[in-house]
Amino acid sequence: MKRSVRRAATAAALWVALSPVAMAAETGQSLYNDNCAACHQRSGLGIKGAFPTLIGGKMVTGPLPALIPTVLNGRGGMPAFKSDLTDAQMALVLSYIRSSWGNKASAITTVQVTQARIKASAAAKPKNLQAH
């Protein structure tokens, strides 16, 4: 009995550590670490030949037209995040990327993401229970 309680407690601890819902406050950085860092790395450097660096470059720090639709719909092998992140979350994480690791581009607002979402017809889709 005791053992199973402890096991459940360990499970709960790990759960809290990984659940975005349980996080006190979601920040651009926490969203980045959860959704982007697996490929682009916490350093933002990416992996050469596979995942591009997010440091500098027109796509990330340039004027907006390409960046938001890329994150919404995916491109060149990058996954689509239109169903994973809300407009507010996307604004947070993109602002974080545009102002980290030496990047000095302007912040992105939720409204800008909402507008881009409509323009790119990238409405969130309900998740399927199964894929393949």
Binding site: S4, R7, A8, T10, A11, L14, W15, L18, S19, P20, V21, N33, D34, N35, C36, A37, A38, C39, I47, G49, A50, F51, N73, G74, R75, G76, G77, M78, P79, A80, F81, S83, D84, L85, A120, S121, A122, K127, L129, Q130, A131, H132
Partner: protein, 535 residues
């Protein structure tokens, strides 16, 4: 069709009329089934490879990638007389058709090296794992190469559903799918039947249809014929199972959940009137692992045709032919030339290889997204899901972030151990978990599974995890076309650019399925052959 068109007698049924009506419904539904079979497009499905008559005229074809598209092209073109050379980046054929068993090694882009240490005979299909019965293209080769099949349980009413984001007493509790189905449909049928019997649906139902409709609802929802109420049904299980003698005798059926509790639980998310076309209940799997299919191809393709561990550096073409520069297994630079090329490298990887194609073609190639996809196999020392829970295969649907689906093996019934699928997740959730080390991924999967099965942790022995977006040869599980790129880019890529033909699951509407790769190859080699014939 019905002799007595409901004379306002409401829900009062005679036994005879009830059966007459069922027969009437059966007649209609049989007729419908016949029509569906015609209208469903069975006849239009690509079930056989194209015939390639007329000879190959000494044409040399270079095929990049020995996944199912490349293997299909190599096998069929080779049979038709073409000189075929396949370059494959991995040390084995099959591409994403990977089966992890003892000794299987995977090193991802983060440098995580895993060597599968499952017991002999244990395995997990980290790539494709089930074949819908209507994927006759895949089954064509399964049949041809004598690959043994077994049934894959894709829908098990006895499997648990676990939704913790709902509300009420059923939220966060493992519940058998059949119980949720019985109650949700039973109560819904009861509501509809009562409304209809009062005549409230007469605007859309003729009196005769009304009676037939009610008969259908009684049947569908397993309602009490006397008052059209739902009171539970044997199919949702027993508190005391029926058996011998007077005790347990007839046993005692379970009591249904309250309708509000079922609705609030959100567990009904797993219910659909019928399984989706890609998720039909009847699925198949090769005995011993999905890689039996690529192995079947390899046995039937002449030795030397496939060159392994060949990494493509540069793809060139001009008006006369194609040329590929690559690095071979020993690290030496090499070249191979041919007349045409079939390139099956995933677009996510191909974008990093310099290639002579037109600008619009390049632009189209870059517009497709690839799905992050995770799987983990957990070797368990007993098959507690069968022994303790009586669940023989099927899926544990849940809403635990990062887990997606937990699935129980459809093979090795009642043997000592088993490997279950501890998570199968996509998108952002998959990206998050893949950032963990293989050990941490296993810990995560075991801790979450423990919430559903109390036996999980104590039975866990070994794990093997795969993140397809971190595999250097794939950079994603499957292509994901947005509506826009499907319209603009997809048709461009389905046609050759000069002498280069692309092929793979990404160039089909069966993305992520083996059938997509095979049927795309069939289509491209047919086009190529026609061109050679006309040249």
């Amino acid at each position: 069709m019905l002799s007595d068109p409901g004379t306002g007698s409401g829900g009062a049924f005679t036994r005879r009329r009830f059966f007459e009506q069922l027969a009437a419904v059966g007649g209609v539904s049989l007729a419908m089934a016949g029509m569906d079979a015609l209208g469903f497009g069975f006849a239009s499905a690509a079930t056989l490879p194209p015939s390639l008559p007329g000879g190959a005229k000494g044409t040399r074809i270079i095929i990049l990638g020995a996944g199912l598209a490349g293997l299909t092209a190599a096998y069929e073109l080779g049979k038709a007389g073409y000189q075929v050379q396949v370059l494959e980046a991995r040390g084995v054929a099959g591409g994403r058709v990977e089966t992890a068993r003892k000794g299987f090694v995977d090193t991802d882009l983060m440098g995580n090296r895993q060597e599968c240490d499952f017991d002999d005979g244990q395995y997990i299909n980290v790539g494709p794992w089930r074949i819908p019965y209507h994927h006759q293209s895949t089954l064509h080769y399964v049949r041809k190469f004598g690959v043994q099949l077994e049934l894959f349980n894709n829908d098990n009413d006895a499997a648990y559903v676990y939704f913790e984001k709902g509300k009420g007493p059923l939220a966060g509790k493992p519940i058998r799918k059949g119980q949720i189905a019985a109650d949700a449909r039973g109560y819904t049928a009861e509501l509809m039947a009562k409304v209809a019997s009062k005549g409230d649906l007469d605007a859309v139902l003729s009196p005769a249809d009304r009676q037939t409709f009610i008969a259908y609802l009684v049947n569908e929802g397993r309602l009490q014929r006397s008052d059209l109420s739902y009171k539970g049904t044997d199919g949702r299980g027993f508190d005391i199972a029926p058996g011998a003698g007077v005790s347990p005798g007839a046993g005692k059926e379970t009591t249904p959940f309250a309708f509000a509790d079922v609705l609030n639980s959100k567990a009904w998310s797993v219910l659909n009137s019928v399984a989706g076309w890609e998720q039909q209940r009847t699925m198949l799997e090769p005995v011993g692992g999905m890689d039996m299919i690529p192995r079947g191809f390899v046995k039937n393709i002449p030795e030397g045709v496939i060159q392994y561990k060949a990494l493509v550096d540069r793809i060139q073409q001009n008006a006369k032919g194609v040329k590929v520069s690559y690095t071979d297994a020993s690290g030496k630079k090499a070249e191979v030339a041919g007349d045409y090329m079939i390139c099956t490298i995933p677009l996510s990887v191909l974008k990093n290889i310099k290639m002579d194609v037109s600008k619009p073609f390049l632009e189209a190639m870059s517009s497709v997204a690839y799905a992050p996809v995770n799987k983990i196999g957990l070797q368990m020392k007993t098959r507690f899901w069968e022994e303790k829970h009586w669940i023989y295969g099927g899926h544990i649907y849940n809403d635990i972030p990062g887990i997606g689906t937990i699935s129980l093996p459809s093979t090795g019934w009642h043997s000592q151990k088993g490997v279950l699928l501890g998570y199968y997740s996509f998108g952002g959730e998959a990206a998050k978990i893949s950032a963990l080390s293989p050990d941490e991924r296993a810990k995560f999967a075991v801790a979450q599974g423990q919430r559903i099965f109390p036996e999980y942790t104590e039975n866990f022995e070994k794990a093997f995890s795969k993140s397809w977006h971190l595999d250097p040869h794939n950079l994603g599980g499957w292509a994901e076309w947005s509506d826009e790129s499907r319209k603009a880019a997809y048709p461009v890529l389905c046609e050759p650019d000069g002498r280069i033909y692309l092929s793979g699951e990404h160039l089909s509407h069966l993305t992520g399925w083996q059938a997509g790769a095979i049927e795309s190859a069939w289509q491209q080699i047919a086009k190529l052959h026609q061109r050679v014939q006309q040249a």
